[in-house]
Amino acid sequence: MPAETTAAGAAAPHESQWPLFEVFVRARGGLDHKHAGSLHAADARMAIEHARDLYTRRQEGVSLWVVRSSDITASDPTETDSLFEPARDKVYRHPTFYDIPDEVKTL
């Protein structure tokens, strides 16, 4: 089993189908692009147009990113234990041992 697998998974797209793209939408200026979903398109330009029609119909965003799903490298779900478990008992990595002054509101 390879250490890395693509986000699109093992299932190869049907020959006659357009490739899959992941869509990221920025809700408004200053915010990050957030993953909104995925769609099929022949190429990146068409993917932007589809993303506009599928994911910004209700004014959800002001900017779009699309990326071929096959270009995303994802962590392997079978390695979750070794990748993420070790962080669980290291609570000292959270800044919970500081006394936060009352004046600081937004921490």
């Binding site: 357009w18 099929h40 398109a41 330009r45 068409m46 147009e49 589809h50 506009r52 029609d53």
Partner: protein, 255 residues
């Protein structure tokens, strides 16, 4: 249609624009559930909704000009095909996806050049509607022209299909620029731009996209319809029968 409307020319002109959007929007709506891909289903439906939104504003305005208390719905659902004043290009059947795209390209280019100039109309209401519509139409053009290039410069079959659709629909484009008394009066009153000017701009735009799409511009041919004066091809009646069925069978039905 009686001629007792105070500003008959403006009324007819606004109906022509509104009917163009309504009929084209209804045609695109026929694709819902039948598009080649889910993504295109939504894309075409979005354009259809933009167009119907434009039609609502324009037909509502026509109702005001008319001054008989008819609403946008009355005008859309209770007129017979002889009272519809859209150009016949809009009512042509969807055919395959390629034919729908060709029809869309030809009309988007027209509406884009028209609305861009209508934002400076001497008629304040039309200028407002155009300012909203021009943004939508820019996107429609982007969608349809990109598709035309993909299909025209695509496979042998896609090229053959859009090529045939272009030949079939081209004769209807003559009507877009045919100037009658209404058009002349609107231009003279600076309510509408001159159709000659629009023809030049439209032609440049179409030539450019046809060349990118590896398509040959058909030769202009005489044509015999005049939808702008209520003389339509045989297709409009069937379309309206379906569109108006509910209101005709159950007058005043609401949801």
């Amino acid at each position: 249609m009686s001629a007792t409307v105070p500003d008959d020319a403006l009324w007819r002109y606004v109906l022509r624009l509104g009917d163009l959007s309504l009929v084209l929007g209804q045609r695109l709506g026929e694709w819902v559930g039948h598009s080649p891909a889910l993504e295109e289903d939504l894309g075409l439906a979005n354009i259809a909704l933009d167009l119907i939104g434009q039609a609502r504003l324009l037909l509502g305005y026509a109702g005001q000009i008319e001054g008989r208390g008819r609403t946008e719905d009355d005008i859309a659902f209770l007129r017979d095909h002889g009272d519809y004043l859209n150009v016949t290009l809009a009512e042509q059947p969807n055919g395959d996806f390629g034919q729908t795209i060709v029809r869309q390209v030809l009309i988007d280019a027209f509406q884009l050049e028209l609305y861009t100039r209508l934002t400076a109309s001497a008629d304040a209401r039309l200028a407002e509607v155009a300012a909203k519509a021009v943004k939508e139409t820019r996107y429609h053009w982007r969608y349809s022209s990109e598709w035309l290039v993909r299909l025209g410069d695509g496979t042998e079959e896609s090229h053959a299909r859009v090529s045939a659709a272009l030949q079939r629909l081209w004769p209807h484009t003559a009507e877009l620029f045919a100037i009658d008394a209404v058009d002349a009066e609107m231009a003279a009153r600076r309510i509408a731009p001159s159709l000659d000017e629009i023809r030049t701009a439209w032609s440049d735009r179409i030539n450019a996209v046809l060349s990118r799409a590896m398509l040959v511009r058909p030769v202009d041919r005489p044509y015999t319809w005049f939808g702008k004066q209520g003389r339509h091809s045989e297709h409009l009646g069937y379309m309206l029968a379906e569109m108006q069925y509910l209101q005709r069978s159950h007058p005043g039905a609401r949801w």
